[in-house]
């Protein structure tokens, strides 16, 4: 037995924590057109139905989460989790940090394969009057409310980076978009978003725990 000579600290980082600065960025002569924030404290599980098991997975989803598994590009508000479509026969289970992975294991045992992605993604929230103008600079999708209503979702490419994008509940009458991006791309995308949104003025909120 080796004596522990030093105390180890396991301070956690988030994909943006080393560069994150809450406050105003870009144009300051008017109210911020955009509000952005990194969302933390979530658990994320990739669920992939095994061959021929989609119906069983869907049924299990209804039992465990009280909602159908998303079979087309949208996000489903379920019990204690958000279910986000990510491709044919697969979706993401996003939940506040806790027992998300365990819960998914119990729910989908034998019918779906699970991969934890809680550390593999960064979750960004973008809202405000100019959020669509900002996203238009980096995203090819039509985010008009008639085409991309609340809880619409997409697996797309933003600034050459794979992103899961969905629109959640409006805040103060303005659309709120969530972007789930690979963690190692997060700083790069964050800088691009700040550069692109600078002309509208960006208010960066303190990072906060994600809530459905």
């Amino acid at each position: 037995m080796v004596e522990l000579s030093v105390e180890l600290s396991w301070a956690e980082t988030t994909p943006l924590s080393r560069i994150y600065a809450a406050g105003r960025q870009g144009a300051k002569e008017h109210d911020a057109g955009l509000t952005m924030a990194e969302q933390t404290g979530f658990e994320l599980v990739q669920v992939m139905a095994r061959r021929g098991q989609w119906s069983a997975t869907d049924q299990a989803c209804k039992e465990a989460y009280g909602a159908s598994a998303p079979a087309k590009p949208h996000a489903v508000v379920a019990q204690g989790a958000l279910l986000v479509w990510s491709g044919p026969d697969q979706f993401l289970v996003l939940s506040p940090r806790g027992d998300g992975l365990e819960r998914a294991r119990l729910a989908f045992a034998g019918m779906a394969s699970l991969s934890e992605q809680s550390d593999g993604r960064s979750l960004l929230r973008i809202s405000g009057a100019r959020s669509r103008d900002l996203l238009a600079k980096v995203c090819s999708l039509d985010l008009h409310p008639a085409v991309f209503p609340q809880w619409a979702a997409a697996a797309t490419s933003i600034d050459h980076t794979s992103v899961n994008l969905w629109r959640s509940t409006d805040r103060d009458g303005e659309a709120v978009f969530h972007l789930l991006v690979f963690a190692t791309f997060a700083e790069s995308l964050w800088h691009t978003l700040l550069d692109s949104g600078a002309e509208y003025g960006v208010a960066i909120d303190a990072p906060g725990a994600w809530q459905a």
Binding site: W10, M48, R51, S113, K137, A183, F185
Partner: protein, 995 residues
Amino acid sequence: MSAAGQTHRLAAGGLIDRDNRLSFSFDGKSMDGFAGDTLASALVANGVKLVGRSFKYHRPRGILTAGSEEPNALVELRTGARREPNTRATTIELYDGLVSASQNRWPSLSFDFLSINQLASPIFVAGFYYKTFMWPSALWEKFYEPLIRRAAGLGRAADKSDPDHYEKAWAHCDVLIAGSGPTGLAAALAAGRAGARVILCEEDNRLGGRLLSDGGTIDGIDAAAWVAKAEAELRSMPEVRIMTHTTLTGAFDHGVHAALERVNDHVPVPPEHQPRQRVWRIVARRTVVAAGALERPIVFGGNDMPGVMLSSAVRTYINRYAATPAKRLALFTNNDDGWKTVEAALAAGVTVAGVVDARAEVSAEQRALAAKHGFAVLNGVVDHVEGGKAGVAKIVAALAGGARATLEADGLAVSGGWNPSVGLTSQHRGRPKWRDDIAAFVPDGAPPGMIAAGSANGEFSLAACLMEGHSSGAAAAGDLGFSKSAGNTPVSDEDAAYSLKPVWTVNSKHKAFVDFQNDVTASDIALAAREGFQSVEHLKRYTTLGMATDQGKNSNVQGLAIMAELTGRSIPETGTTIYRPPYVPIAIGALAGHHRDENFHSTRLTPSHHWAAERGAVFVDTGLWKRAQWYPIKREKDWLVSVTREVKAVRSGVGFCDVSTLGKIDVHGPDAGTFLDRVYINTFSNLAVGKARYGIMLREDGIVYDDGTTSRLAEDHYFLTTTTAKAGQVMQHLEFCRQVLFPELDVQLTSVSDQWAQFSIAGPKTRDLLRDIVDPSEDLSNEGFPFMGAREVMLRGGVKARLFRISFSGEMAFEISVPTRFGDALVRNLMIAGEKYGVTPYGTEALGVMRIEKGHVAGPELNGTTTAADLGLGKMMSTKKDFIGRSMAGREALVADDRQVVVGIKPVDKARRLRSGAHIIPKGATPGPETDDGYVTSVCFSPFMDQWIGLGLVKHGRERHGEIAMAHDPVRREDYEVELCNPVFYDPEGGRQRG
């Protein structure tokens, strides 16, 4: 002082703000204009006629048009880093302090030395370069090319990096409308009222198109008032977006269009945080091209002289800008539209010297107008003009009866008729069709969802434009299911027929230009015809007709007409060249947008990046990643010193390296093992849970694709790693295999590359260090955690991690991975816990040194030409199963015994540096393709060998260990002796990594 400079400013009228005086300079001379001017209109107001010099002959040129098709008035705009060449004065909105300069002249615009080129014009004919500079070819780079480049300048690019920002953006709509003249406004109103999402693009800074120059009456009110009313209604519709300063430049597949928005070209410096220009990709379900028509010149002697201007442009300068291009104006026309310029000039108080009309008959009204104002109407054509760089002075007409007549005038307005703007509708390889009644090409169909309307469709009267605009806007919206009322059609009683007699060229003895910008004359086209370049595509390349920045907008139809006449064909038989985007020039910077300099591509950062940056690591770009290349410590100036120190520290103690960049893939499912057996050459289905194995994948053609270790974490869960470079491609490849090749297998794949922070810890003291990190209950002994073991462990402090006992360095080594949130903490803990063992972080260079010393192959050997056997790994190819690439790997050439195989290489002179890329030839042989046995793929300075060593691919390499051969390096002019040897320089028995 300079108020007096506006000698050609009319006393009243125009859409200019006379209370807002703007100062600008042209060629160092300070002048004044007004808000609302373009640079061109301000130059006109100041009486400036000479604006530039032509491309080839350096002929004096003035302003021909009032739009983005301008071929002559190209200037350098702004100074310093913001200097931009070839900007068209006709599209530059005047701002206070604007600085512009003429280009392509030396030493001055007024006296241009190279204008002697025109004396030599008999030799500068079409095809001159092809004929003259063919031989001797050795002179091309040294002599001809520099000579041509100096002579044929088109302005100077800024010699500093552009300080402004450009960007790209997407927009989506139901109905996209190009152009906001009467047609476009009517279309936008109709589509908007019906409820469609509309985008209205207008190149100009305000809506109205030709209405701004020609006026008229619509719905019983003045055109200007109608435009204002229409704009107000459009702005009140939330789903209508008006984009001024925006030119639709391209039409691509599936309704995707390109547009250029000049966001801040009308101010000296863009406001902070704003781009100068923005390139739009606009996705539209329907498109109405209301881009109008362009007036065309007539080819006569001296038609390029300053003072000769398109008739519609003269009207624009007079009506819109209250600036007259001439005090005494003449008109040469072949149609009624030209006469509108006479009316405009007379209304503005400009004297009209006379009209040369090619038509035998003019109307009674026109005769009456001439009589009233006392000017002559001559039936005939203009033969040539006389004057000089200061502008036109005399117009010499060849009358229908054969006589000549002369008009004295300081300006000549020319109207050869109108060409509908068929560029956008023809961009999908469509060819426009000829309409005899207007002697012009009109769209013949268009890309799906697109329709041309109004002048762009050959309907030139105001009444017809309004009607067609409204109906096409309403139809586009109706097509898409928008059923609200499109409202009333705007009406005008201006529906006069357009009477035109085609006149393309006048047989003049004087030099007559077809393409102004590229100095293509009528005689150049005749020469091309004589020499057999009669196809329009040949004509274009041979003479450069239509190849300038105006892309033939001012010249192509006249050129075709001349060729048609010379070859006895009709114009439609002669045909048109292909229309391609962009419709107007776009700066490369705008196309690059945000993606320049450090934003050229997105960047991936490793979990230890910020810690490494704090330590002063030197980073290297590997794909999108930034990786620590080495970690210099105090007083280390030379990279090799740092790298050698890192290698020695690992080999004698312990070090660690961030290997999170490796691709990591979860392979799940009951058939995961079977799946891996098919994609790897070796077997994975029999791998025990808790063990790792090195695997190789082949391409279908039998060549090695990628390698890496894959561990079995559970019966139905493998964790596969790829190389850094191939991470994305391997994931795609495996998904292809899963979805397409082997759909019967129950297997699921997920990239977990970013979920895990992974570090290689290597060196004889690795276990000592790990025992300070890992929970004491974990058994790390050789028995408890043997070589190639892989399992989850608990770290001190309660963090779960995975440990893999694998070694790339040849040392006793583990790879440890923790969830990425703990990556930064782990690296700091390794430093703290490792202090007493002298722990040393190492970068990719030291990693490379150790793998070369150990003879491990990597990217330079897995180079897309090598087989597993070439790499010395042929025995890994299972004979008991099928796998991707197996059959093709058995091809004769891939199993030939003279293939180049991996071998170790070291210079005989131990002090000599070995270089990658050197060829290996037998000692004593003359270097050449037939004696070339292979080449050096990877090199390093080996601290262990105390000399430079390398790996190479050499014919019969395995049988030649010990042979002295020659390294032949023609690039660095080196030849030296090397010894071929076992590629495993370090610990060939492998005792260290297993110990």
